[in-house]
Amino acid sequence: MLESSEIIMSAKGLTKVFGFGATKTLAVDHVNMDLYKGEVVSIVGESGSGKTTFAKMILALISITEGEIYFQGKKRDISTNKKKQEYWRNIQAIFQDPFSSYNIFHKIDAVLLDCIRMRGGGRLPREKKVEMMSEACKFVNLKYEELTNKYPFELSGGQMQRLMIARIFLLKPKILLADEPTSMIDACSRATILEMLMDLRKEVGMTVIFITHDIGLAYYVSDKVFIMEHGKFVESGSADEVILSPRAAYTKRLISDVPKIHEAWDLSTVEMQSS
């Protein structure tokens, strides 16, 4: 595939602590991760395991308590707003809830025009911009002519998520962080979104970090899988290795809890917990 031996980003001893005193919680606990150029990596864990906190630290949306992030071999520098924006040109995200990802007062073109401006195309002639926008919309099977005068609420969830992918198509970031991109969409449009994401990855040649609680999905899309429990990676390795022959007890439990089709789903092992 597109994998190479070049490390594009690495996290060293990344830690995040929320609160202090009695309510102190360790959300992410000294996590190390190397991300190679062009690969698709999944981070899988239950709710509350710290997946999203980890993602937010990588995205520079929240501060880091301890540890370092290296981007393209150099230590990440986001000390000023300008540097932060420069960093965000390289890393972009798709979030779980498409309905709350858009500014409800901005029309669809404004969303896409913003992306063109971020890529430094702010002074291009109008026709060129329209051409770029319709190309992006075509990539995700949307019609630009139908979208131009619409507000985000007029689109369905699947369409919004596809528009999100169109944004990424225009921005062409080096790293895409997809935080549960299909969990709010029903199973039928999920396949469409996934295929589009994978096409986009080939087209742009970017690295993708997939954050999900759906093990099947992680297995389907990714080269490497990291399993997270209580802010730590308990298991990592290639997708086939981790999913088909898990070693950690937590991974085994997680996989056995997913309803399957060809194998039996054993309900007798369930322990009814009391809280």
Partner: protein, 341 residues
């Protein structure tokens, strides 16, 4: 032959919008649930799954209106009954409904035991508080819930626990049929398994006689249900046992649906997921013939005419102009083409 718990004949219900447009969200649906069986309803969002569940209760409130058809619960026809009568004498005792995201609708200022008292009092069963508490404790111990839950507020419970409590409250009057609408969609896999086990135990322990299970997660549906019904744009497009519907779907829509299943098993990575192009039709003015026509790969001229549900001998049914053999041939040819690529 076991007893039929719920029988629905040609049920049609509609929404009336504020512009006086009729939207037929459930269009001539017939179904039958036998004692001890679980019926699953699958379909993408907006296909009328939840509206069907609401309609089955017989409790209609605007903008949902009853149009025609019969709903027979345990030998009693409840269609067209006064909503107040339905609420008092049918809901909770004959049929019970767990709406989507019911666990988020618990009043945060009231304890769980208060909800149970409400259910009893709404059905004219004026029991004393102590009596209700004893009954609730007994139920909890059978259902595997700790009885401390009763004295807690909803915020003190985790998501999975809340969902299980909601289920317990809904079956406290021993309804014949339980309709569960996406009972596990907001939960993680471990809590999901607990909720499913609880629902299965309800059937085993005799709290409920039959269940209707609604979800769009097909692997889950396959594991929970005996029969599966696939809905598309307010109509049933396929009916069959769980195994038939998942491994050998006949209707092109169900075929597409089953092709989008993702499970962590051997060989998943070699499969190419099939996506159904296009969007479901607007039910304000649905296409005259087959409603799946604009998205279908196997169209013919006859598809423009009204397509009826075809009943096969072994109890299966599907809504398509093509015969069983023609459909199977078409699928086989497509599979061969894909293999050659």
């Amino acid at each position: 032959m076991s007893e039929v718990m719920l029988e629905v004949k040609d049920l049609t219900t509609k929404y009336i919008t504020r512009y006086n447009e009729d939207i037929y969200a459930v269009d001539h649906v017939s179904l039958k649930v036998e004692e001890g069986k679980t019926l699953g309803i699958a379909g993408e969002s907006g296909c009328g799954k939840s509206t069907l569940a609401l309609s089955l209760m017989g409790y209609y409130f605007a903008p949902l209106h009853y149009t025609s058809g019969e709903i027979i619960i345990n030998g009693r026809d409840i269609s067209g009954m006064d909503p107040d009568v339905v609420r008092k004498s049918i809901l909770g005792t004959e049929i019970s409904y767990i709406p989507q995201a019911a666990m988020n609708a618990l009043n945060p200022t009231r304890k769980i035991i208060d909800f149970i008292e409400d259910v009893y009092h709404a059905h004219d069963e004026y029991k004393s508080k102590a009596e209700i508490y004893d009954l609730a404790c007994e139920c909890c111990s059978i259902l595997g819930l700790p009885k401390e839950v009763l004295q807690k507020y909803p915020v003190e419970l985790s998501g999975g626990m809340k969902q299980r409590t909601v289920i317990a409250v809904s079956v406290i009057l021993f309804p014949k049929i339980l309709i569960a609408d996406e009972p596990s969609s907001a939960l993680d896999v471990t809590s999901q398994k607990m909720v499913i086990k609880m629902l299965k135990d309800l059937m085993k322990d005799g709290f409920i006689k039959s269940m209707i299970f609604i979800t769009h997660e097909l692997p889950l549906l396959y594991n929970v249900t005996d029969d599966i019904m696939v809905m598309y744009a307010g109509q049933i497009v396929e009916k069959g046992t769980a195994k038939e519907a998942v491994f050998d779907p006949l209707h092109p829509y169900s075929k597409g649906l089953m092709g989008s299943i993702i499970v962590p098993e051997h060989g998943l990575r070699d499969i190419k997921l099939t996506a159904i192009p296009g969007v479901p039709p607007n039910l304000k003015n649905p296409p005259p013939g087959c409603r799946f026509l604009p998205r279908c790969k196997y169209t013919r001229a006859e598809c423009e005419a009204n397509v009826n549900l075809r009943n096969l001998e072994d109890g299966r049914a599907y809504r398509c102009i093509l015969s069983e053999r023609e459909l199977r041939d078409a699928y086989r040819m497509e599979a061969e083409q894909n293999a050659r690529k």
